[in-house]
């Protein structure tokens, strides 16, 4: 069966401290974000760093929150990925 990919947005950062700060700001505003390793495909030459995974329906709110708080980040990248607990593929 073909895997169902879904569009997510990944907020990338220069440092994890920026990421954790935005995670807190989003939480305060009631916007759900999840801490996740950034997919290698969207990192380019950047390291194995943390990112915030957000759903498409809140990405505009995330941008507003960033602007309102002047929060630091590197980029917001749309990326299709699948989260499949039954895949049974491990590292």
């Amino acid at each position: 069966m073909a895997e169902q990919k879904k569009l997510h947005y990944y907020v990338l950062f220069k440092t994890y401290t920026q990421g954790m700060m935005l995670h807190e700001l989003l939480k305060k505003d009631g916007i759900k974000s999840r801490i996740a390793p950034a997919p290698r495909a969207i990192q380019g030459e950047l390291g194995c760093g943390m990112s915030l995974l957000v759903e498409p329906d809140v990405v505009d709110k995330v941008r507003e929150c960033i602007e309102k708080n002047n929060a630091e980040y590197h980029d917001i990248v749309p990326y299709e990925t699948s989260i499949n607990p039954g895949r049974n593929r491990f590292c």
């Binding site: 996740a36 390793p37 950034a38 760093g49």
Partner: protein, 423 residues
């Protein structure tokens, strides 16, 4: 992101191959962790650490080295962290838990070696893990034949001290172990250039005890009827504890435990009521080995306890903090560590007693005795463990596996059948 690539390059890592590891981590982490609902907020810290697992902590260790501190890489819960911390050294776990490192290990080891040893050797020789590059000295121990011979290979590449474990727990063995710790004190003093005193050892004993208490509180919360944290999350906390600064580990685990205790008060569970409670016993699960927990928790059960070196064996029992002179403190350390019941000892009846005790404390419906392939010690002891559990009326399933994905579907079928039988 921070310029970790430069850091990895300076560590002499194989960046191209390391990129392949970086590529698979997000998918596995997504499947195992992001797929879960209602996780404790406090897990954000551990998610962050894993998301940047080869960046944040390695960068801290390198900074500490620049300030003159030495990093000791260890592979076993018998190596006393207290000694290293007392000499202002840093401990980092080095056990390999990924299939990714196995082929590089198999290049120099027989295939019929346990995956933990193959992955650990492979991570060093394949130059694909920063922790293995950073550690100034490795500390091995003689807990199995595979490791004993692997140290000889690793010692050709990195300074390595070996602690000789007793195989029995008679009074003369306890004394031998205390002497082994005394020798280790000298090795650490010489390597760091720092004297270990009654004062700094007392402080180090306290630091590591506090870390153990933090982990114990997280585990204590898992005994509740409403399970406030998944087994996968608890495993991650334990796995990262081997790498983290011990004071930060104590702080973060206590903070998480506060949240879990609040969840218990409010009846919050991450599993539906009536979910079968499973305890795992057996060999350690080094990061990122999340395989068994993921299969069990996607098969309708919850893992509530691990009687493993990455579980209760890591934090149960404290070192007596009332001693004031160096010899008494070393004896207290020796006593505490000899209270860990690994299958490398004979006889090892205390481990069986621990398993029965833990099964009752965590109110488990069944036990899965899971051992890494080619681990003769745990495999042979499995007979005694399973016999004792059956006699106690506790259902048990014995499983032998490794880090590969290939047996996952077969394991799932067996585990689902076992869980159904628990009804």
């Amino acid at each position: 992101m921070a310029d970790y690539r430069k850091m990895w390059e300076e560590l002499g890592m194989d960046l191209e191959t390391h990129d392949q590891l970086c590529a698979v981590l997000p998918t596995a982490f997504g499947d195992v962790y992001l797929s879960q609902e209602n996780r404790p907020e406090g897990m954000g810290f551990w998610d962050m650490v894993v998301a940047d697992v080869h960046g944040i902590r390695p960068a801290e260790l390198i900074e500490a080295q620049k300030n003159g501190q030495k990093v000791f890489g260890t592979f076993c819960v018998y190596v006393p962290d207290e000694v290293i911390i007392a000499a202002n050294g840093i401990v980092t776990g080095l056990c390999g838990g990924s299939q990714f490192w196995v082929p590089d290990g198999e290049a120099v080891l027989p295939k019929s070696t346990c995956p933990l040893i193959k992955a650990s050797v492979g991570a060093r020789l394949g130059k694909t893990c920063p922790f293995f590059r950073i550690a100034d000295m490795y500390v091995g121990e003689t807990t199995c034949d595979g490791k004993k011979k692997a140290w000889e290979i690793l010692a050709q590449d990195v300074p390595l001290h070996i602690m000789d474990m007793p195989q029995m727990k008679r009074p003369q063995d306890m004394e031998k172990w205390a002497n082994e710790i005394k020798d280790f004190v000298k090795v650490v003093e010489d390597f760091t250039g720092n004297k270990i005193t009654a004062e700094n050892l007392k402080e180090a004993i306290h630091t590591i005890n506090e870390k153990r208490k933090g982990l114990a509180r997280v585990y204590e919360a898992r005994k509740a009827e409403n399970i406030p944290i998944s087994g996968r999350d608890a495993l991650l906390v334990s796995q990262i504890a081997f790498f983290d600064d011990p004071k930060r580990c104590a702080m973060m685990t206590n903070k998480l435990a506060d949240e879990l205790e609040e969840r218990i008060k409010n009846g919050v569970s991450v599993f539906p009521a009536g979910t079968k409670r499973i305890m795992l016993t057996g060999t350690p699960m080094a990061i990122p080995n999340w395989k068994m927990h993921q299969i069990i928790e996607t098969s309708g059960a919850a893992v509530v306890c691990e009687e493993t070196c990455t579980g209760t064996r890591y934090f149960e029992n404290l070192v007596d903090e009332t001693k004031d002179n160096l010899d008494d403190m070393i004896k207290a350390i020796a006593d505490r560590y000899m209270g860990i019941h690994c299958a490398c000892f004979t006889p090892n009846t205390e481990r069986v007693q621990d398993i029965i005790r833990l099964a009752k404390e965590y109110k488990v419906d069944g036990v899965i005795d899971v051992n890494l392939k080619f681990c003769t010690l745990y495999d042979v002891e499995g007979y005694t463990v399973e016999k004792a559990l059956k006699e106690a009326g506790i259902p048990v399933l014995g499983i032998e596996t490794d880090y590969a994905d290939s047996d996952a579907e077969q394991l799932k079928t067996r585990i689902q059948a076992f869980i159904e039988l628990l009804d």
